[in-house]
Symmetry: C2
Subunit: 246 residues, 2 copies
DNA sequence: GAGTGGTCTAGACCACGAA
DNA sequence: TCGTGGTCTAGACCACTCA
């Protein structure tokens, strides 16, 4: 039975436009890993024939997924599953930019990796049971050799089982995708200005009480589940957080 | 001569899709005040006939303008020019939200209004000549009676001639639109964590050196010209800046 | 019921990239 | 030269609003 027939058969209950249903079907394939990052999707015409709708309807679904940065469309080549390459992360997920000079990635040094029961904040942020296991990664990130960000990541152990310290790369999201089949689709950040504690200040090589930007990020997978909590303390003497309102 | 004929006549030089040209035409009418905020646009069919393209092409242009929050489309009613009502500002341009409780507007108290030659920062931010006149508005904004934001606005005097202290409302952007015909289309914010100076701390009723979130906003009009610079110092003990990454 | 925007279709042609 | 996505058109029908 085609999608259109399904809709027409029961128009009263939970009606939604065809292209939205097509979008859900395609999204589910991304979630299920039928199409992995970097791979080429079938052409619009093939998808339309397979799903049983017109090319225009498939196009509208694909366009929306592309607008959400989940797909990349290239004229003459085809439609691809978006990858978490450096450039994408840099512009979509990394908002701290130097006051002067180019936007670029900081180097990372892992300080320690521990596994522990989730505290109250973590279980709330990650929507996991109280005291469920979390992997905590603490790392220091620097630009031009100057410590800039002290970062504490909390990952649900259930999702990222077997994550080893040795394999933690600078770009974590591409590891999530390649090793665990998890695509980070979007994130929510809450920012505050705080005074650094003695320990945090020492790690960043500044004086206790130095003002820092505290970023509390929760990153969501394709299916909307929170899969990462990231607490960052950023020095903003020579950098700033860039937010475009439109 | 219709748009399509124009394009076909000279396809080599500066080709752009028809719907983009239509979009430019419509945008120009917004800039020129042909259609003011809140007013009803002609129907898609009327616009298509007038401009000389198909309804689908007009639709694509209208959809993009709606996606940029410049128009509001309502099924069964028509397409309207977006207004800077409280709700829109609250969600599009006001990112500081209480940690607990509902997102809401702070009350404002104007501390002083002065006119002075622009300093280097202002002339750069507003793209005006060095020492051109700017209106500076300093105000204190509070939630539930607690001072939260100390704000300094810089407006080019040329654009906002005759702005009087008595007429400064809490919602400035609707005044910009109604009195000066200027629509704020988008803004760029740069955030830093700073320690409050003695003066600023006193204005906010906190101790000198208290960490605060410093937001440097440049707001752009429909035509892309910067028309407002806003420097905010925000206390983030019980509130945070919310940023959605997607 | 008339008019609006929203969806869906079918088909034509264009611009682009790669073989 | 071929296949891809991008644009444009024309027309049908649907859902919503309001008189």
């Amino acid at each position: 039975m085609t999608l259109k027939q399904k809709r027409d058969a029961a128009p009263a209950i939970g009606f939604s436009p065809l292209y939205q249903q097509v979008k859900s079907v395609l999204l589910q394939r991304l979630v299920d890993g039928v199409w992995v990052p970097g791979s080429l999707l079938p052409s619009e015409i093939q998808l339309a024939a397979e799903i049983g709708v017109s090319q225009g309807t498939v196009r509208k679904a694909l366009d929306e997924l592309a607008a959400e940065n989940l797909l990349v469309r290239r004229q003459g080549r085809g439609t691809f599953v978006a990858e978490h390459d450096e450039r994408r992360i840099l512009f979509q997920f990394f908002k701290l930019v130097p006051d002067h000079g180019e936007r670029r990635f900081p180097e990372s040094a892992v300080l320690n990796v521990t596994v522990a029961p989730a505290d109250a904040e973590e279980s709330a942020a990650l929507a996991i049971e109280p005291a469920a296991g979390v992997i905590r990664i603490r790392r220091l990130r620097a630009l031009d050799g100057r410590p800039l960000i002290l970062e504490t990541l909390s990952l649900p152990q259930k999702v990222f089982a077997g994550l080893d310290r040795a394999e933690i790369p600078n770009n974590l999201y591409s590891l999530f995708a390649s090793r665990y089949g998890i695509t980070i689709a979007r994130a929510r950040e809450r920012l505050k200005a705080v005074a650094l504690s003695a320990d945090d200040a020492a790690a960043l090589s500044v004086a206790t009480g130095t003002p820092a930007l505290r970023i509390d990020r929760i990153a969501l997978a394709l299916d909307g589940m929170p899969v990462e909590r990231r607490l960052s303390l950023c020095l903003t003497e020579e950098a700033h957080y860039l937010s475009d309102l439109r």
